[in-house]
Amino acid sequence: MNAAGDVAPRSCRPTSIGEAAGRGGAASGAAAPVALVVDAATKVYGAGADRVLALEGCGFEVRAREIVSIVGPSGCGKTTLLWSMAGLHHLTSGAIRLDGAVIDGPHPAIGIVFQEANLLPWRTLDANIRFPDEIKRRRSDEGLIENLLRQVGLAGYGPRFPRELSGGMQQRVAIVRALAQRPSLLLMDEPFGALDAFTREEMNRLVERIWLDTHTTIVLVTHSIDEAILLSDRVIVLSPRPGRVARIFDVPLPRPRTPEIMAGRAVFELASAIRSEIVGARTSLAAEGAVGSPKGEG
């Protein structure tokens, strides 16, 4: 049952697991070193008339073993930022550093879960999970994969094809695929945006459980404020495009965040504060009116 020993990245101090589980998330990060630095990240797409300024001077830090959510209006550059962290985009100026080293290409310590499961439909689940190892031409850690599959409730599903699975199950496989590489930083781009509210909540609990076991640093892009509060130590609100940090909210709630905690007054007030920050930052209020509400729950 306890997969912590298997899943935990080597950098994780074993004592911190028990501690962090009992304490407020944000507080526990105080002692942890800074893992990821986003330093005045600026990204320009195209040139001339097609020039799009997606990010401008966006900067913040993520501490080791922290869960940070990034929220913001649609098109404000969240995906651009996440892909840059994964080394899939080159910044126009500024830098992103992981443990002090500038990220200028794909990094072996970074795992990424894309929006929608992004499984390869011509491969079985097993072959999908082994895909990164195949690219890296190395053996897969069978024990770890089996353990992870059991943890997400998909033991024995290895020989199936993605189309035989529901959206939630596919997304769980995508998470297993990322975790099987033992990332020290896990990036997730609206991983549950396409799921219904119940499945989404289940997935959130799964991420919380995995984090309690592994304490992998997680950066999560989401449209759901509830999801952000349930999972994160801090919530970073980006401004409308070009994306910069509008405000950073601490989430000083103990973990695991039970339904009782999530129904409490503190959560409600925090959620409305975040919501009004996003809505207030919007230039055209009338435009869509759907920014504050998560799109998966409509």
Binding site: A86, P106, I112, N118, W122, I135, R163, Q170
Partner: protein, 282 residues
């Protein structure tokens, strides 16, 4: 390589596996319903017997002369009695088809891969491919015969020219189905351009490649037979012209029957390949 890093903006409505290709989607022909019970088999057989028998009876009833339209029984008889005479010609046609198709399909696949990796190459090549697709290769056969004589060569060249572009445009459509998220996934784990091609682009293109190969093979067969009808003393096409000029209609239709069977065989082969290797698309 710039293509590898463009993110997807417009989200597909459902959980999509990249763009779908509608017109010649493989699923259109891998999804024939399976034949279920013995009863269904019986009905299918009965209909076939009725159709063939109906043709047979009506041709006899209206006393249609043998040299205009022979009844199925006469065709069947000719097929059996003259099969040993037709067989060598079938061999010749198959040699032309296989050789021409191998060359054409090989070149078509290679060009498709090249063109989709280097967009500039596409701009250079596209007009010629379009020309090859739209020009009936049969028109070139007399010219090819002048240059290469009455042997295999002009026919093999014609088959290659007819099948190659069909394979190429379909395969290129397949290779162009860039799903940037899947490519980003591979890149995130450090995949090289070659790995991305073999592990993402090629499998993603496979359904369209199979469609292209099937269309190319059928075009190749048509062209081989047509080229044989234009000149040269062998091949099934040559039999068609010979039998019709000698008014041996049962034999003529026996050859037609063999040609239809060849066409159906091509279809079935690629149908089965598609079922085996591209069923994830359906």
């Amino acid at each position: 390589m710039a293509r590898d890093i463009t993110p997807q903006f417009s989200r597909p409505a459902g959980r999509g596996d990249g763009q779908r290709v509608d017109l010649t989607n493989l699923s259109a022909f891998t999804q024939t319903p399976p034949i279920g019970s013995a009863g269904e088999v019986a009905v299918i057989a009965a209909v076939a017997i009725l159709v063939v028998g109906g043709i047979e009876c009506s041709l006899r009833w209206f006393e249609v002369p043998l040299y205009i339209l022979p009844p199925p029984s006469a065709v069947a008889l000719a097929l059996v009695s003259d099969f040993h005479l037709i067989l060598p010609h079938l061999g010749h046609t198959l040699v032309e088809l296989l050789a021409g198709f191998a060359i054409g399909a090989g070149a078509g696949l290679l060009l498709a891969a090249l063109v989709t990796q280097f967009p500039f190459a596409e701009k250079v090549i596209a007009p010629y491919i379009l020309l090859l697709v739209t020009t009936p290769m049969l028109a070139l056969v007399p010219l090819l015969i002048l240059r290469f004589g009455f042997g295999y060569e002009p026919r093999i060249i014609a088959v290659a020219l007819a099948s190659g572009p069909m394979v190429m445009i379909n395969a290129a459509t397949g290779f162009r189905r860039v799903d940037s998220a899947k490519i980003a996934l591979a890149r995130a784990y450090g995949a090289s351009t070659v790995q991305i091609f073999w592990k993402i682009r090629a499998p993603m293109a496979l359904p369209m490649i199979l469609v292209g190969l099937m269309i190319g093979a059928i075009f190749g067969l048509l062209t081989a037979v047509g080229a044989e009808m234009v000149g040269g003393g062998f091949g099934l096409g040559n039999r068609l012209t010979t039998y019709s000029s000698m008014i041996q209609m049962p034999q003529f239709f026996a050859v037609v029957l063999i040609l239809s069977t060849l066409g159906i065989l091509i279809y079935v082969i690629f149908f089965l390949l598609g079922k085996k290797y591209a069923s994830w698309e359906a």
